[in-house]
Symmetry: C2
Subunit: 168 residues, 2 copies
C-alpha cells in the first residue's frame, strides 16, 4: 500500500437550488463544487485573493472533464479530495474526486480533471508561476506522486467508450 497522504479537500452540502427536474443535483453544480474546491487549491499554492490582487496573478481554467458516477440529492454532504497529476512552469493538471459522506458508499460519486493556467491578469496572458508559488506546486506534486493512478483521468468521450490513460 502507498503511504497515506493527507490530500487537500473541500466540504459542502447540496443546496435545494442545485437540484433539477430529475430530483438530483444538476450536472453543472457538480462542476461548481469542483470549481470551489479548486479555489481552495489556489489559496494553498500561495495565491489567495490578497496575493492575486497585489501581484495581478490568477488561475484560469483551460479545460475540465467530469465523470458522473452516482446521483446525489438535496442536503447530501460531500467531500472533494484533490491531487496534482502533473504541472509545468505555468500549468497544473488537477484531479478531484467527490465523495458522499452518508457512509453508504466508499466509491466517489463524481470525478473531475482540470487543466489550470497561471495568468498575469493585466493582459490577461499566461505567465510562469512566481518562484514561491512554483515551490509550493512542486511540493504538492511530489507529495502526490506516490499515490495510485487516478482512476477516472484520461478518458476520451465517445461511442463506443474508449479509455486512454496518461503515463503520469
Amino acid at each position: 500500500m502507498p503511504p497515506a497522504v493527507a490530500l487537500p479537500s473541500y466540504r459542502a452540502t447540496v443546496r435545494a437550488e442545485w437540484v433539477d427536474y430529475n430530483g438530483h443535483m444538476r450536472d453543472a453544480f457538480y462542476m461548481l463544487l469542483f470549481s470551489l474546491a479548486g479555489d481552495e487549491l489556489i489559496d494553498l499554492i500561495g495565491l489567495p485573493d490578497s496575493v492575486r490582487k497585489e501581484r495581478r496573478r490568477s488561475i484560469y481554467t483551460l479545460e475540465a472533464h467530469l465523470n458522473y458516477l452516482h446521483e446525489i440529492k438535496e442536503g447530501a454532504q460531500v467531500r472533494i479530495d484533490m491531487r496534482l497529476l502533473a504541472h509545468d512552469v505555468k500549468r497544473i493538471h488537477l484531479y478531484l474526486e467527490m465523495f458522499a459522506l452518508d457512509g453508504q458508499r466508499a466509491e466517489p460519486v463524481a470525478a473531475s480533471e482540470q487543466m489550470l493556467l497561471h495568468v498575469d491578469t493585466s493582459g490577461p496572458r499566461s505567465i510562469a508561476f512566481d518562484p514561491d508559488v512554483a515551490a509550493r506546486v512542486r511540493e504538492l506534486a511530489e507529495a502526490h506522486a506516490a499515490l495510485p493512478p487516478a482512476r477516472f483521468a484520461g478518458h476520451v468521450i465517445g461511442l463506443p467508450a474508449v479509455t486512454r490513460r496518461h503515463a503520469t
Copy 2:
C-alpha cells in the same frame, strides 16, 4: 462547403452572480449554460417534462468535457449551438459550442461534449429510447452527419497536451 444545417440552439445572458473574482464568468456557469442548452435538446427529441413524467423516462449526464477558449463577462449575450456526434440505442454523444453575440469574434468562446444516457427513472436504470424518441434522435444525427468535424471534441487532458480525434 457542406450544406447549411439549422442547428438546435439556446440563448442566454451572463448574470452578475455567475461572475467570479477574475471578473469573468466562472467555469462552472459555462457548464450550467451547456446543461440548460442540453435541456432544450431533450425537449427536441420528444422528452419534454410531461413525457418524462408520464413515461418515467429522463436523460442523465454520464460525462462532460469543457474547453474554455475566451473569457466572457457580465451581461454578455451568448448562443449555444448543438449537434449530435453519435448515438446508440440509449446514449447520445452531444457536442456544443458557445458563441458571444457581440460581433467581436466568429470563434466560439467555449465548447463542450457530453455523453447523455436515457434512463427509466423508476430504477433509475438505463433503458433503450422509446421508438418515437429513437426516430427523432436518428433524424437529428442524420441531419448533423454532413457537418465538418467537431473542432474541440476528442481531447485528452494532459501535459504535454495531446489531441485524439474520434472517427465520427
